[in-house]
Symmetry: C2
DNA sequence: TTGTATGCGTTATCAT
DNA sequence: ATGATAACGCATACAA
């Protein structure tokens, strides 16, 4: 005999399947004696509800989707950790999909989510994505979505981000306070809103402190390798920055390698500051002063907002949350 | 009107739902003209198959489960990246569950997987787990399982691991070749087979090279912090090692911080070598010579073995695969 | 308090 | 070549 079903129990006790169904879920209509009898038999037979059938019947998947560009080591581990924990606490499970930073794959993933009938969706956009129509126009009608980290602020979108501009400003404020004047800025992919915001903050802060903007000290880099290569080139010039700000752990990793290879000492010859959501600043030597941004907090906030949306605790669909960041002063400036 | 179903199409065309069902999947019985008509209407109406219903009907979940202790930054990102890609390529999706290194949660997760009717399961055991009965005795009968990385070698288990003993031996061989004699060994949680194997290799290699085993230079550490604290204490002793071997990125991170704080120069005052599956050795200064172990390869191999099991391409259920590792010589010894 | 009947969307099996 | 029916396991509106 295969898996025990409600029918089996019903047949055995010569009652109706619906009675069993109700008894097993403590329905108040069923008498205590009947409940006990049924639950005992269910236990003896090792009955396990077929959740697939339940979810089908109730048109619920019990699943939350998470679409991310790519599982890297800096940001997403903490995000996933937080999301998985909270999703499970709420009786759901987590499905992970990678877009590999490709718009096409992101669209495919969106379709998968739709067809899977997920109960909610968390999305960190690919860097190719310039428009979220493939989510909002069809899927969002049936399934709450929260965008986080890499987002596009549009009407009808719920988002969770950090205050990127402020984070960059805080970093530059610190450098200015320490007396650095020739500040290099290393940024990620140009398409991303986080890049735009952090760059905006960077420039604003320079202006505020009446510091010159050395365009030749600034660049965008998509990968660690690009960041390293470009910064190494920069270090070959005759005029050098006295401080460098990197907007992510990834760009930091590249810059640091270039600095190590050049043999410059931090912070004496070159100060370093970054925005980080990982442990890298602590692993480096010297440890890097940074603006801390918690991936765990982002994940937690995003998924909690999602559950609020799913449970209609939030009326409007365009909640746009911003998380705070803070300065961690270590040894690099 | 809500979602379009096969019934809707059938009603519209005044045919039977079963005809529609067959037409949509190119069943040879259906006439070409009928097929075209139906497929056209399906397209016009934006019909999307209800996979939940299909999976229910076919008693397939379309899901692969992945149980890991905790989403950290060193090992699992690469594993998850590989698994997600291959799972998706095979038309499945990936569910992630964390045990938080707790046996109880691992058992809960096992139950979830069972109730979800997953089609396959990948497991990296918690450090509390001493026995895999909660997987093999019930679940494995209905669902193929592959254990990876943190495994317990038992009959009837398919596993994917690296040759841990050999990896440790390779590391110590390198140190011996370079002339180091007082070697410290830093190991992870004692319960883990990978710890036991790596320690065994460590000791074997010392013996082989007729090197003394300095027990006072060796310890186990469960966390980065513990690794750092204990190594810092070790560095306060009068007799110091001339080289240190750490069995993971995590222990390396702790040891490195202690070394930085003490101000010892690598490799002049202390050589460092480790087993690594991440990028940390490249981020440190100097870059750390290590035995490379690819999380991506582990994930890929494990999930491919799982699909082989699912498709009955592998007859026996206790395939035990070992992946190779190799030395990456950088600047720390 | 319990039973009956129906349906969720799809497909396999049988009949026509 | 197409239709009719039943079934997957469960939940629920309605009846008794």
């Amino acid at each position: 005999m295969g898996r025990i079903t409600i029918k089996d129990i019903a047949k055995l006790l010569e009652v109706n399947p619906s009675t069993v169904s109700r008894a097993l879920k403590d329905h108040p209509d069923i008498s205590v004696s009947m409940k006990e009898k049924i639950q005992q038999v269910a236990k003896d037979l090792g009955y396990q509800p077929n959740y697939q059938a339940i979810r089908f019947r109730q048109n619920k998947s019990g699943l939350i989707g998470l679409i991310i560009p790519e599982m890297g080591m800096f940001f997403f581990p903490a995000v996933v950790k937080a999301i998985e924990e909270i999703v499970k606490k709420n009786g759901y499970n987590l499905i992970i999909l990678q877009s590999n930073d490709l718009l096409e794959k992101e669209k495919e993933n969106a379709l998968v989510c739709q067809n899977f009938g997920l109960d909610g969706l968390l999305v960190c956009l690919s860097k190719e994505t310039m428009d979220v129509g493939h989510f909002t126009e069809t899927i969002q009608r049936k399934m709450p979505i929260v965008f986080f980290d890499k987002v596009i602020q549009q009407k009808e979108c719920s988002t969770v981000v950090i205050n990127d501009e402020l984070a960059a400003i805080t970093a530059i404020n610190h450098l200015a306070r320490k007396g650095y004047k020739k500040i290099s800025g290393i940024f990620g992919n140009q398409n991303l809103e986080i890049t735009q915001s952090r760059k905006k903050g960077f420039l604003k802060a320079l202006t505020k402190h009446r510091l010159l903007h050395y365009g030749e000290f600034c660049f965008h880099a998509d990968t660690l390798e690009e960041s390293k290569r470009k910064f190494a080139e920069l270090l070959e010039q005759s005029v050098l920055p006295d401080a460098v700000f990197t907007m992510t752990d990834q760009t930091l990793a590249g810059v640091i390698q270039a600095i190590y290879e050049k043999g410059l000492s931090i912070p004496e010859e070159l100060a370093v500051i970054c925005i980080s959501n990982g442990n890298l600043p602590y692993y480096l030597n010297p440890q890097i002063t940074h603006i801390r941004h918690s991936g765990y907090a982002v994940g937690k906030t995003a998924v909690e907002l999602l559950f609020d949306l799913m449970n209609d605790k939030v009326v409007v669909s365009n909640n746009q949350l911003e998380l705070e960041t803070f300065l961690v002063e270590l040894d690099s400036c």
